[in-house]
């Protein structure tokens, strides 16, 4: 995976109570601070006005098809893995009006949207999510066209990463090379330390505006020992991944496995409910919806998240190209782990495990990959690689 250059800055120590100062400083600069809070039985991302709203003392237990909030016995504010939300809900909104039109005589007038672009700060971004954002940047801003909605929102975002110290039961960022430590793509990166009744954050600035922000918040120099704990926490987290995925020649594996019998097997279980695509932090597909008023004089066009698991997704005159459930699961997983590499130069999977946790029937992509790998492949012809094309 191509990774932007890492900005090396020294770690400083921020006493735990200064998190509130950070939130206030961001708000003073006009940022709406979005971060984790407990709501609807999960840790979700929402607007924060105070550090007291963070999920202090909570963690999550995740396994295939299961997510539970559990009390911690310490006051950690970021002592969980990941909730169902990803930051794409702010950068690539689930529902967005593209334009409005009004009937004029036998024609119509289109008025373009000039949406208010929110100035957002993200607090608590995990390493896997930084990679997910970088992947969506590539998809939506670095091709021939730029998505104006995503670009305008993305440009303003202030990112406060928080290193993951407690990977979930469905996590495998270690396998995907996307975590657990934040190495790029942040303004500030925090590591939460809870020892001997002390609650501190070790902080690293990744950008000049991160450094400027840090200057507004009372902090102290970190000792060499403290600086080492950042790497120790990352190393310890890497040892506790709930899942693993072998990515060796994974593109070639999938390209030659389009007719693998495992697709039939997984189709027996898959409900085609699209949950995995909704919780996936990199899935970017959308559809458009045209709505009119009852009189038919006003029309609007909306863009909405869509999923390759619906029959409508591939519909052309005469029917769906992917009529079977099997073909839709195959499309999703093959895109995520293989064709994405040819399209955008990296895997489309960051190993966050959300698709495993939030699958109502606990389909686990790491198991599916293993099954396809172990049974070998039945196809004779592999697809051409980009070089061969």
């Amino acid at each position: 995976m191509s990774v932007p250059p890492h900005r090396v800055h020294d770690q400083v120590r921020l006493p735990g109570e200064q998190l509130q100062t950070l939130i206030e400083a961001l708000r003073l600069l006009g940022y709406r601070v979005m971060g984790p809070k407990v709501a609807e039985g999960a840790i979700v991302y929402d607007e924060l006005t105070s550090a007291a709203e963070l999920p202090v003392g909570w963690t999550d237990e995740q396994k295939g098809g299961s997510y539970r909030l559990v009390k911690r016995n310490d006051g950690a504010a970021f002592g969980y893995a990941l909730g169902p939300h990803s930051w794409k809900k702010y950068l690539h909104p689930a529902v967005h009006r593209l334009w409005k039109a009004k009937r004029e005589g036998n024609g119509f007038e289109i008025s373009e949207e000039t949406p208010e672009v929110p100035k957002l700060a993200f607090l608590g971004v995990r390493a896997c999510e930084l990679h997910a954002i970088a992947i969506q940047d590539k998809v939506l801003t670095q091709g021939v066209f730029r998505d104006p909605i995503y670009s305008s929102r993305r440009e303003n975002v202030f990112i406060v990463a928080v290193n993951c110290s407690q990977p979930g039961g469905t996590c495998f960022c270690e396998s995907m090379g996307t975590g657990p430590q934040a190495t790029f793509g942040f303004d500030l990166a925090l590591t939460e330390i809870n020892v001997n009744g002390r609650h501190d954050f070790l902080v690293e600035a990744g950008t000049d505006r991160g450094t400027e922000m840090l200057q507004k918040i009372p902090h102290e120099g970190a000792t060499e020992k403290e600086k080492k704990t950042v790497a120790e926490i990352a190393a310890q987290a890497a040892q506790h991944m709930g899942r693993q995925l072998n990515t060796h020649e994974i593109k070639e594996l999938f390209y030659r496995s389009l007719e693998h019998p495992r697709w039939d097997e997984v189709a027996e279980r898959c409900l085609n409910c699209a949950n995995c695509t909704m919780v996936c932090p990199t899935c970017f597909c959308t559809t458009v919806e045209d709505v009119t008023d009852l009189a038919g004089t006003e029309a609007e066009r909306w863009r909405k998240w869509d999923s390759c698991f619906t029959a409508d997704f591939s519909y052309i005159h005469g029917g769906s190209v992917r009529a079977s459930r099997k073909s839709r699961y195959r499309q999703w997983l093959t895109h995520k782990l293989a064709t994405w590499i040819d399209q955008f130069g990296s895997s489309g999977c960051v190993g966050c495990g959300r698709c495993i946790t939030w699958c109502p029937v606990a389909i686990d992509l790491t198991e599916e990959v293993l099954a396809i790998r172990q049974a070998g492949s039945t196809d004779s012809a592999a697809l051409p690689t980009k070089e061969e094309q």
Binding site: L98, R103, G107, I110, F284, T286, D290, H335
Partner: protein, 279 residues
């Protein structure tokens, strides 16, 4: 890039100049920019997203003459909600246009070689701009052959134009139908049956193919049998599209996006996918 609007998702109004019924379910729209301007330039094989007020938007290939870009011409079949609403449009009505999008037929690359065009049904519409362009610089090519198949004589698209082209001494035009009643004196059979006898030098031929996917698959097989090189065969693919600029994800065909990598592909690039179902 889209010349119609700086925001590629916002349609530009075009005024219907003419609606012409072609066959019982196909029709042609002739459009002009509603706000004036210099017509519409595009390359043969490209498509536009056409929006009918309050109904929706669909990708439709351009069927007009790229060398005479004053008028924007689209030919399509009325099959869905949007295309059926489109057929009801009258002269003077406004239609939204985004585009042109996508890759084009290799008309320039083909210079110096023979050209064989194989079209099935409505697939002649996206190939007609290539025919116009070839004819506008006919001296640059050796043999030019058009093979066209329709289901019945009544469903032959652009019959008068086909007649006119057939009268050209420097064009080979062969038309066949799948089935016909007594009045038909031409070929009967699928279009692939015309390929073996068609007069072109396979070693130096550029082939352009458009039609239903199954027709393209068998056409390519016949072309390969004749000895046309894999990388000299070009086919035009069709998939669901919502944005036409690579963001909506709907038109993916394995690793390619039909909207931006296609719709016209070198056969060699996608040949392994064409033999798999439901890709």
């Amino acid at each position: 890039m889209s010349p119609t609007n700086p925001d590629p998702m916002v349609p530009t109004p075009f005024r219907v100049q003419r609606v012409r019924q072609e066959t019982h379910d196909t029709f042609t729209l002739e459009l002009e920019p509603a706000r004036g301007g210099n017509g519409f330039s595009f390359q043969a094989g490209q498509f536009n997203m056409l929006y009918v007020f309050g109904v929706g938007e669909v990708p439709i290939s351009i069927s007009g003459d790229p060398t005479r870009s004053k008028m924007l011409v689209h030919t399509t079949r009325a099959v869905g909600t949007v295309t059926k609403a489109m057929r009801r449009l009258k002269r003077g009505d406004i239609l939204g246009v985004r585009g042109p999008f996508g890759s084009h037929w290799p008309v320039e690359v083909a210079a110096g070689s023979d050209v064989v065009i194989v079209a099935g049904g409505i697939g002649l519409a996206p190939l007609r701009p290539a025919m116009y362009e070839l004819l506008s610089r006919r001296d640059q090519y050796d043999k030019v052959v058009l093979l066209y198949g329709a289901r019945t004589p009544e469903e032959i698209l652009f019959p008068r134009e086909l007649e006119r082209w057939r009268a050209h001494f420097d064009l080979e035009v062969h038309v066949t139908v799948d089935r016909a009643m007594g009045g038909w004196r031409g070929n009967v059979g699928v279009v692939t049956t015309l390929i073996q006898k068609a007069p072109f030098n396979a070693r130096s031929t550029t082939a352009m193919v458009c039609g239903p996917e199954v027709m393209m698959r068998f056409t390519v097989m016949e072309l390969l049998k004749r000895g046309v090189k894999t990388d000299n065969i070009h086919i035009s693919m069709e998939r669901n599209m919502k944005c036409a600029i690579g963001f909506c994800g709907h038109c993916q065909f394995g690793p390619v996006f039909v909207c931006k990598d296609g719709p016209v592909f070198v056969y060699g690039r996608i040949k392994d996918l064409l033999t798999k179902w439901e890709i």
